[in-house]
């Protein structure tokens, strides 16, 4: 099954790796972040046993909110089986001994890099984002002293000019990911490098959304049912990325697709970036037009072996 129980925690380390004082410090930062939606709270980020830039912020947030009864799902690029997602899931299985899952609806905490699951999130869930650069204005103004001032004064003209220049030059806003949003009508926020396709899912979301940037020592949050608006102009409203194809494996439409090169002649397969969503659909009997004669779903023996490679290669052959 997709949910797996782990008994052993790592000897010599506290539950979920971080010591309790550190967790308390992070929880305080989280409470402040929830109280001021979209505001970047500085916190004393710790070195983690994985490199900065590989999800240390998300891992610290998850480690601070996770309890023994939680069920954790970790995705990277929408998928449970990308190497770094596997690595982080293993880290918590090892240090916290919590249940892990690949199923979105079974998870109480979902740590993510670059995607929001297709399935609608629920009130009892927490979505933890890994954030590389928390400051939406950073590439317009490199100085932290300046950007903090701009936030304090709610002076977001720089970004509007940037978006306007895009339209003047290309006819479109050319930001396709890390598309800036305004949270609760106050703070401009970087949604982390999720594709702008996922931005509407942040708005009025039932789940608590927490953002951790380890290297930059910042935490921010969107409480449940908070208004999140993607920046745009009246005559150039925000547009979600649209795909012309449907998923080649499960036939889903209106979802985010990965483009996979399948042969030396430039043959392409478009398939769901959210691998769990794709599997659920195939299990329910949906079939994409690239499946051919292959069975729509292959049941695996253990979660450890649930890799998209085994499913998909079987499907493609």
């Amino acid at each position: 099954m997709a949910t797996k129980t782990h008994d052993n925690t790592t000897v010599g380390y506290n539950f979920a790796y971080l010591d309790e004082q550190t967790k308390r410090m992070i929880r305080r930062a989280l409470l402040k972040a929830v109280a001021i939606p979209g505001y970047q709270v500085p916190f004393a980020s710790r070195e983690m046993p994985m490199p900065y830039g590989w999800g240390t912020g998300g891992v610290q947030v998850t480690a601070s909110v996770i309890g023994q009864d939680d069920t954790l799902k970790v995705i990277d690029q929408g998928s449970d089986d990308t190497t770094n997602a596997v690595s982080i899931r293993k880290f918590f299985a090892k240090t916290a001994g919590v249940k892990t899952t690949t199923k979105t609806n079974e998870a109480s905490i979902i740590q993510t890099r670059h995607r929001i699951p297709e399935e609608k999130l629920q009130e009892h869930q927490i979505l933890v984002y890994q954030v590389p650069i928390p400051e939406p204005l950073r590439f317009l103004e490199p100085r932290e002293t300046e950007t903090r001032k701009l936030h304090a004064l709610e002076e977001y003209g720089l970004m509007h000019v940037r978006l306007y220049e895009d339209i003047a030059q290309h006819g479109h806003i050319s930001k396709t990911y890390a598309y800036p949003v305004k949270v609760d009508g106050r703070y401009m926020m970087d949604p982390s490098p999720t594709p702008k396709f996922d931005n509407p899912k942040m708005d009025n979301c039932q789940a608590l959304q927490l953002f951790g940037a380890g290297r930059e020592s910042r935490i921010y949050a969107i409480p449940p049912y908070t208004k999140v608006v993607s920046l745009d102009f009246e005559d150039h409203p925000f547009e979600r990325t649209k795909f012309e194809n449907s998923c080649g494996l499960c036939g889903a439409e209106g979802v985010y697709l990965d483009e996979v090169i399948v042969d030396d002649n430039g043959g392409r397969l478009f398939c769901c970036s959210d691998t769990d969503y794709c599997e659920q659909r195939r299990e329910a009997g949906h079939r994409g037009d690239m499946l051919g004669d292959a069975p729509s779903y292959v049941k695996s023996s253990a979660e450890a072996d649930v890799t998209a490679s085994s499913h998909h290669s079987a499907a493609l052959e």
Partner: protein
């Protein structure tokens, strides 16, 4: 085809086993011990301790071995271990004037109390590889006599008021609140204590280049080496229950006092100013670079124009940490195909629109 882009637990485990194999190398050769590394590669060990911010030669030796000699990887291992250690408190300030000196030089005075002590240095070696082991120098086993009474050069200048005064006086009981970058994120503008902490564990190469740039005119500070000293100092810790300080061991450090020019101002007579560097183990390059950068970063204090990279506090402090830097640079190896897909879709759209306008133009 598709298999190639997906990883999974099995691949990770296999990669780790392969790494362990390569780390061990040829099985016919004896394996290095942590002690061998700590003893024979001490300068490398110094760097790992300094930038790993943990004084433990044997552990640093182990980290170097585990990292296959990749110094930044070894530094990372030490840092990640260090952060899990319980924090008992802060030590008393080191008294480097009482150092058991192994090496001490000044380039501002020909001779001075305590003398010039060359000690173990590469400085005047000819950089010739010893192909013939027989011709290599016989090591001198005599211990360096560390019991030299050598007051700091700065103290001598201080008497004549020629150099700016240090703020800290050990006899003064007033508490000075010192920052802690491992417990508080750096906020800008940062104070000198926080800046020095950041530089102390900053990347040697980064600081070397920045220090070098100040010498070449990007934030010039007119430096002289007032003094470099290397040796053992006693580490004391104030025990609350006892009510006094106890010695908890000796550590080796390299200290550099840089003397820099300052023209003075309307209300201040001209005086020498200072740049300071302190590093675990023997690392003069790092201590010197640190003191050059420290002085450059003090430009605002002396009303100097702030124009060069080495004077730019946010730039220097937020990019000096090699564990952060290597993590973020190397994270580009992680999959980015979701974002790339979004860019691909936009690029295709833009090209399609471009084609259409071209066609319209030719019609």
């Amino acid at each position: 085809m598709y298999v190639a882009v997906k990883g999974g637990e099995k691949a990770i485990d296999a990669a780790h086993r392969l790494l362990a194999d390569r780390r061990r190398g040829d099985r016919d050769l004896p394996e290095l011990s942590d002690e061998q590394i700590a003893e024979q590669l001490f300068v490398g060990v110094s760097r790992v301790m300094a930038e790993g911010a943990l004084y433990d030669p044997k552990l640093a030796g182990r980290a170097i071995r585990q990292a296959r000699g990749d110094m930044i990887e070894a530094i990372f291992l030490v840092r990640a271990y260090r952060t899990t250690l319980p924090r008992f408190g802060y030590s008393e300030p080191l008294d480097t004037a009482e150092m058991e000196i192994q090496r001490r030089i000044s380039s501002t005075f020909k001779d001075l109390p305590g003398g010039q002590v060359l000690g173990p240095t590469f400085d005047y070696t000819h950089r010739l590889i010893d192909f013939n082991e027989d011709e290599a120098l016989e090591p001198d086993h005599r211990p360096v006599d560390g019991s030299i009474d050598a007051p700091h050069v700065m103290k001598l200048l201080d008497k004549d008021d020629l150099v700016e005064r240090i703020n800290y006086d050990p006899a003064d009981d007033t508490e000075i609140e010192v920052g802690d970058i491992t417990r508080q994120p750096i906020s800008y503008p940062a104070d000198r204590d926080v800046r020095l902490q950041n530089l102390a564990r900053g990347d040697e190469g980064f600081l070397l280049s920045l220090g070098y740039s100040t010498q070449r005119g990007y934030g010039r500070t007119h430096p002289f080496v007032g003094e470099i000293r290397y040796g053992e100092v006693e580490l004391e810790f104030f025990v609350e229950e006892l009510g006094f300080s106890v010695s908890i061991g000796d550590i080796e450090v390299t200290e550099c006092d840089m003397v820099n020019q300052f023209k003075g101002s309307v209300d201040k007579a001209p005086q020498f100013t200072r740049g300071y560097g302190l590093v675990f183990g023997q690392s003069e390059r790092k201590a010197m670079s640190m003191s050059l950068v420290d002085r450059a970063l003090r430009c605002d204090e002396f009303g100097e124009e702030r124009s060069a990279p080495a004077q730019d506090e946010e730039f220097v402090l937020s990019h000096s940490d090699n564990v952060q830097a290597t993590g973020f640079v190397e994270h580009l190896k992680l999959p980015h195909y979701v974002d790339f897909q979004a860019e691909l879709a936009l690029l295709r759209q833009l090209r399609r629109e471009h084609e259409e306008t071209q066609e319209e133009a030719t019609e």
